[in-house]
C-alpha cells in the first residue's frame, strides 16, 4: 500500500491496512473509494486484483479501480474483481480507441479519466501522463474535451504540485474549464483538513473531492470530517453510526470472510 500518488511512501500490505487502520470501519465515513495500482515497473496484476477483491468484499460503497488500464484484459480483470468504475489515465493518450470501446462495453459512467497536471515555470497548467513524466501538448480545457469524446464519464483532476502538501486544493484550475462541462468533476491533491474539502464541495463546478492523504485514514477522521461537512449544510448522504454492528451476521449463517478487529 502506498500513500500519495507522486511522492510515494510505502506503508504496508493490504492486511496491514485492514488490521492497523480498521479499514472497513474507515470506509464507513466515505461515499466512494478509489484503489489504484501505482506500481512503477512490473505490475503484479493478479495480486492487485486479489487485493481489490478483498476490499470489495468488506466495503459496501462504489469502488473505482485503476493503474495500468491499457488493455481490455486488465479492464475486465478489475471489473471482475469488484470494480464499479475504472480510472484510466495514459490510455486516453496512447489508445483512445480502447477507451471508447471500454465506455461502450461497460457504460460511460464506468469510465473515470484521470487528469494529472502541474504548473509550468510560466505558471500555466500542463497535463501530464505516465506517472507525471510525459507532457500533453494540448491545453487542459481542450484535453478535457478530448477525454469526453473518448468516452470519459467522470473527470478526476489532480494537482501534482498540491499532492501530499495538505495545504488545500487548487480550486483555480476550474477557471480553465468550460462551465458547462457535461461530466462530473472530482478534484484531488492537497486536502489536509475538513475546510479544504468544504471549500471544494462549495465550488459550483466541483461534484466530488478525493484525498489520499494518510492522515485522513486515521481513527475517526473521515466520520468527523463528514459531520463537519454536513453541519455546513452541504448536501451529502447521512450514514447512521453503529448500524453495521447491528447488521453483521444478523441471519446467523456465518460470515464468508474471517472477522477483523
Amino acid at each position: 500500500m502506498l500513500s500519495r500518488n507522486f511522492r510515494l511512501q510505502g506503508i504496508g500490505s493490504i492486511d496491514w491496512l485492514f488490521d492497523n487502520y480498521d479499514f472497513a470501519k474507515v470506509s464507513r465515513g466515505l461515499d466512494e473509494l478509489m484503489v489504484l495500482d501505482v506500481s512503477r515497473g512490473d505490475r503484479n496484476s493478479e495480486r492487485f486484483a486479489n487485493a481489490v477483491q478483498h476490499i470489495a468484499g468488506r466495503c459496501f460503497i462504489p469502488m473505482t479501480v485503476g493503474g495500468g488500464v491499457r488493455s481490455l484484459g486488465i479492464a475486465q480483470l478489475y471489473m471482475r474483481s469488484g470494480a464499479d468504475k475504472l480510472l484510466i489515465n495514459s490510455a486516453f493518450r496512447d489508445d483512445p480507441a480502447l477507451c471508447r470501446s471500454l465506455a461502450a462495453q461497460f457504460g460511460r459512467q464506468c469510465i473515470v479519466a484521470g487528469v494529472d497536471y502541474r504548473r509550468t515555470p510560466q505558471n500555466a497548467r500542463c497535463v501530464m501522463t505516465d506517472n507525471g513524466s510525459k507532457e500533453v501538448s494540448m491545453s487542459l480545457s481542450k484535453w478535457v474535451n478530448t477525454l469526453q469524446r473518448s468516452g470519459a464519464g467522470e473527470i478526476l483532476l489532480q494537482s501534482i504540485d498540491q499532492d501530499g502538501t495538505g495545504t488545500g486544493l487548487d480550486l483555480a484550475v476550474l477557471d480553465e474549464l468550460h462551465k458547462s462541462s457535461e461530466s462530473p468533476c472530482i478534484l484531488m491533491g492537497g486536502v489536509g483538513k475538513a475546510s479544504h474539502i468544504i471549500d471544494g464541495l462549495l465550488h459550483p463546478m466541483v461534484d466530488a473531492v478525493a484525498t489520499a492523504n494518510l492522515l485522513n485514514f486515521i481513527g475517526s477522521a473521515f466520520p468527523d470530517v463528514r459531520r463537519t461537512i454536513l453541519a455546513k449544510g452541504i448536501e451529502m448522504a447521512h450514514w447512521v453510526d453503529d448500524e453495521y454492528a447491528l447488521l453483521r451476521g444478523k441471519f446467523g449463517g456465518g460470515a464468508e470472510f474471517p472477522a477483523r478487529r
Partner: protein
C-alpha cells in the same frame, strides 16, 4: 433460509453476494430455474441493457419459474437496478417485454436544458415518501442510496409502499407490493443503509 441470486451474466453480482455473506444469509448464485422452488428469497440483480437480460431469461427458461415463484408460491422476490426493470411490463430501453409482474414502463431520463443534473444519474441521492415498514422499516423520513442509471419508472400502481427520488424528474426509487420488491438503486453499494434494506427484505416472509 436459502437465498438465490439469479445470475444472468449481466453485471457483477459479487458485491451483492458479499452483502449477503456479511449479513450471514446463506445464498446460492445460479441461473438454473430448478433452484427457485426451494428458495426462500430470490434476488434478480443486473447492470446493463434490458434486451440482453430478457433474452437470457428466455434462454434459461427463467420467466415461468420466476412468475410461479412470485405469483403462486408468493415468496419474496427483489429486483435490483436492471432487475427492477425486468420485473415490469417493459422499458423504453429495449424492445422485448419484461416479466410483467408489476405494471409499468421505464422511460429514459432526459436532461433538462439549463439544469446541472446530468444523465446518467450517478451518485448518492435521498429517497422519500415511503412508509417506514417492510422494505423501508427503520429508515426515518429520508434515506440515501447509490444510483447509477439512465432509465427510470415514473410511477407505480396504488397500493404499493413506494420510495421516490428526484433527478431530472421524480421517479420510483424503490417499492414493495406484498412479496414483490424492486429498487432502482444499489443496496450493495449504499453503506449500511443498503445492508439494512437487504436485511428488511430477508426478514419478509409470508
Amino acid at each position: 433460509m436459502r437465498v438465490v441470486i439469479v445470475d444472468l451474466g449481466v453485471g457483477n453480482i459479487q458485491s451483492l453476494a458479499s452483502a449477503l455473506a456479511y449479513l450471514g444469509a446463506p445464498y446460492l448464485v445460479s441461473d438454473d430455474p430448478g433452484t427457485l422452488p426451494t428458495a426462500t428469497h430470490v434476488i434478480l440483480p443486473g447492470v446493463g441493457a434490458f434486451d440482453p437480460a430478457m433474452a437470457r431469461i428466455a434462454e434459461r427458461s427463467l420467466a415461468e419459474a420466476l412468475r410461479t415463484y412470485a405469483n403462486e408460491s408468493k415468496r419474496p422476490l427483489l429486483g435490483v437496478c436492471l432487475g427492477m426493470q425486468l420485473l415490469c411490463t417493459g422499458s423504453e430501453e429495449g424492445s422485448l417485454p419484461g416479466l410483467g409482474l408489476i405494471p409499468g414502463r421505464f422511460v429514459r431520463l432526459e436532461p433538462r436544458p439549463g439544469s446541472t443534473q446530468k444523465v446518467p444519474h450517478v451518485g448518492f441521492a435521498p429517497t422519500y415518501g415511503f412508509a417506514q415498514t417492510g422494505l423501508f422499516d427503520g429508515f426515518g423520513a429520508q434515506a440515501y442510496f447509490y444510483f447509477t442509471h439512465s432509465y427510470a419508472l415514473p410511477e407505480i400502481e396504488v397500493g404499493c409502499n413506494v420510495a421516490m427520488c428526484d433527478h431530472v424528474r421524480p421517479f420510483v426509487a424503490g417499492f414493495q407490493r406484498e412479496n414483490i420488491f424492486g429498487v432502482q438503486f444499489h443496496p450493495e453499494k449504499s453503506q449500511s443503509a443498503g445492508l439494512r434494506l437487504i436485511s428488511n427484505f430477508l426478514e419478509s416472509t409470508l
